[in-house]
Amino acid sequence: MRILRFFITRIFLKRWILVLGMIILLFLANYLSFTTARSVISTFQGYQEIETLNQEGTFISNLDPNSEADFGNIKIDDTQKVYEYLNNNYTYALQANGFVTSLDNKHKMDVIFNYINEESYKINQFRLSQGKHLNFNYKFNKEKMPVLVGAGLAKTYPVGSNIEITDPVTQQLVNLKVQGVLKKNSHRSNFYAPNSKTYFNFSIFLPVNEGFIQSAGRDLHVGGLMDIALLDSTKEKAMNVKEHLQENLGLDFNFFNQQENFNYFEDYYVDSLKIICTITLILLIIIVCLAVWNNLVCIRLMIKDFTINLLVGLSYSKLRAIFYSYFGILFSIIIAILIVITAINRYGFWLSKDSTFATYGIFGLISMDWMALLIVLFIDFIIGFTIVELTIRKIKSIPISVGVLQ
């Protein structure tokens, strides 16, 4: 330990520019690895969520990106007809997110209303930290609506409390009864960008049943159709819905089945991840080459210091241990910086009152951040090993000789 301290304070830090150069390069390598690892983990998590829909007989709607949609011309009567048709002929999962409302809460965040029907609720399997799961057999406008609240609202609206508010989709004064609290950081991934998530810490989940749909406005009706999933259906029946939507709303929807979704995943998600990983690998190789160069430069300048130390009793194995410890310290510093930056980013969502991204976590980091850091740590081991072994090889290739000192 004393020898290590001696080397760091008296030899390495005497040429602090080289140390700073190394920290910068290793930081770039770590940041890049971290970003990539998080992207991959997040995409994978998202895929796992979406995979629950990748089942025989499930068809997911998708507004055709090549079609021209005129939402202004859609009338509530038309959307009512669509839902009547769906209710009579199909089993479907519906979830409509993102109806912002202002509801007083401890963190002064905007509260988001999410509407979910029973099928979608079953598929998503949200986990609760308190209370009971939603029930869907209430009578809208006659009974209090049972709701789930996000973890961020649990203190202001604990289980059993009542909320009276104008519902943004029915524009009616509704009475909500908090029936349960979602686990911290409950989220949903975007179907087409599974690495992007919406967090429900400041959301309220409202159960949607037929009665509610009849009272709901056009926004919920149209919003719900965007991600609607037909369950236990057939391609033919899905095509009927497609035609029905085209006739009544003038919107061109596609309905993809399991195989098509799988192909889509193959072509899109996997290819995207391959490109990301390739870019990262190339950049990492360039950065590691620069880091090795930086360290060999250190050797050029410090060879006399190393030789004198080797002369008076330092061994190569100790020198190797010194380098490994030195890089261990550098990587620890960099990972600490990375944690701070990530925590600041996460905390930034709280400061900007962005309720869809505000998350809870140890030091502000959520599980995917910690997993990504673990991967970064593994990559650091490889980088550290590469640099140290090349450095020791270089030092060994220069014979310790009194000639070096004369």
Partner: protein
């Protein structure tokens, strides 16, 4: 070359580092011209998380040039002493150092222009880096010292 402090390996190292900095800046600019959203949301959000820090990353990379000048001048102290012993002057050595450093910078900038043309980017995209590098060279000229 006889009068220069730069050997082939020094020129190669400086040239390569300049090129890495220029190329990285150009690639950042180029990626922003692509419509990645149409290609892949995943790719787009990944690239965005890097591009958000474009200036910082470019600035960090330019630091490697500082490292180059620092180690170069440290290694050349004995050579500078020897040159002064045989009749050179510190002023001449500094002037030559600046000129040769600038020459390497200009050549690598010119080479990076081919990438500009290839990617159809403005030729001025890398100019701010050139200014930063010139500042580095001038600052490092103050560190030309003998043993």
């Amino acid at each position: 070359m006889k009068y220069s402090l730069f050997r082939f390996i020094d020129v190669f190292e400086a040239f390569a580092i300049y090129l890495i900095c220029f190329a990285s800046n150009l690639i950042f600019i180029y990626v922003q011209t692509l419509n990645l959203e149409e290609v892949s949301y995943i790719l787009e959000s990944f690239i965005k998380s890097i591009i958000d820090y474009q200036v910082t990353i470019n600035f960090f990379l330019t630091f490697i040039i500082i490292v180059f000048h620092y180690q170069f001048l440290n290694r050349k102290k004995t050579e500078i002493s020897c040159r002064i012993l045989v009749g050179d002057t510190m002023v001449h050595i500094i002037i030559r150092y600046i000129l040769h450093s600038l020459a390497i910078l200009v050549f690598s900038f010119l080479l990076s222009l081919s990438l500009n043309f290839y990617l159809e980017l403005k030729v001025t995209s890398n100019l701010y880096l050139v200014v930063i590098f010139i500042i580095y060279i001038l600052i490092s000229a103050g560190q030309v010292k003998r043993e």
